[in-house]
Symmetry: C2
Subunit: 186 residues, 2 copies
Amino acid sequence: MKTVYERADIVPLLAEIFRELGYEGTSLSRITERTGIGKGSLYHFFPGGKQEMAGAVLADVDGWFEHAIYQPLRKDDASEAIAAMWTNVNDYFRSGRRICLVGAFALDETRERFSAEIGDYFIRWIDALRSALMRAGCSEGEAQTLAEEGVAGIQGALVLSRALDDRMVFTRSLDTLAKRFDSVMR
Amino acid sequence: MKTVYERADIVPLLAEIFRELGYEGTSLSRITERTGIGKGSLYHFFPGGKQEMAGAVLADVDGWFEHAIYQPLRKDDASEAIAAMWTNVNDYFRSGRRICLVGAFALDETRERFSAEIGDYFIRWIDALRSALMRAGCSEGEAQTLAEEGVAGIQGALVLSRALDDRMVFTRSLDTLAKRFDSVMR
DNA sequence: CAATCATTGTACCGAACGGTACAATGATAA
DNA sequence: TTATCATTGTACCGTTCGGTACAATGATTG
């Protein structure tokens, strides 16, 4: 018996493993152990090895945020897009039980491998959020500060809620951030 | 020729390596390579191996924060202690070029090894900060929310400034947080 | 049917991993 | 000076690492 995969099916599985174990902590044997996918398949779809696997995961994550978060922030009604961001982010990160792979990669030397992708992800998030805030009436400076505060606040909430093993901390932090945004936008 | 170390001298060196490489990324060979300390010495001072080394580093970090941040927040003048916190944190994290080891450990499976230490570090930080805020006139609920926001904001600012490779982001984030604290405390 | 070819499982590689054993070293104190 | 003992350098252990080679598999196509 032989299970056949597609590259698109493997990437989300890899994503979850990289999220939990980090780049260095993720070994090929643990990938096989958790997914049942052997080295033959992995190196068939990702000839570049572990680095290409992580790169594919980052691209997949980036694509999701671009579609679900950044584009609405840039194009849709500002206050609706911002409100949708809070709920979508809370769902995506599973109320803090799931971490942000890009943020985690930024913290250790893994950053050196993917500095361009990591920088891009956050720059575009902040830019899109600032765009929405300005359309909602903020000045450019005010919007930039608030956008940075929002994105950093989300990342910090992930760290904190995981450290305290308390998902309420994450949801509560998002709520506090949302209220602050509301108060500035009106 | 033979160099002689003391345990207290080794811990800060280990701290810097764990910070940069993470727990899984830190190998004994890289410790030796960077510090010149051989396995003989390392296992003499830390018979428990890598786990004991990281544990000693966490205890050292915790001790520094307890002395330099938490105790002033609990005992000294509230607004002075909070003001000192911003500057001390900015110095300690070298304007964002240095990361928070405890926060980084919280993000991946390393958390499982040190969940007690990690939880303690953040709980005590938040409690001390809330104590100062209440002495400065905040209600308990307001103080708790603001304390969580402050600690999470610092962690998020570390992630963001490293991701963007921009130390100004860290300093600016701390400044924004400080202003928010000031506005609530008066 | 036969041929093709993407996909997979398995065996294997050298290097690096965390950890152990122990003799050489050298400062200290009797 | 000699004995002691904390400390260190080195050689070595079995295991796991990321990665490669390649034959077996099996669906697709002619």
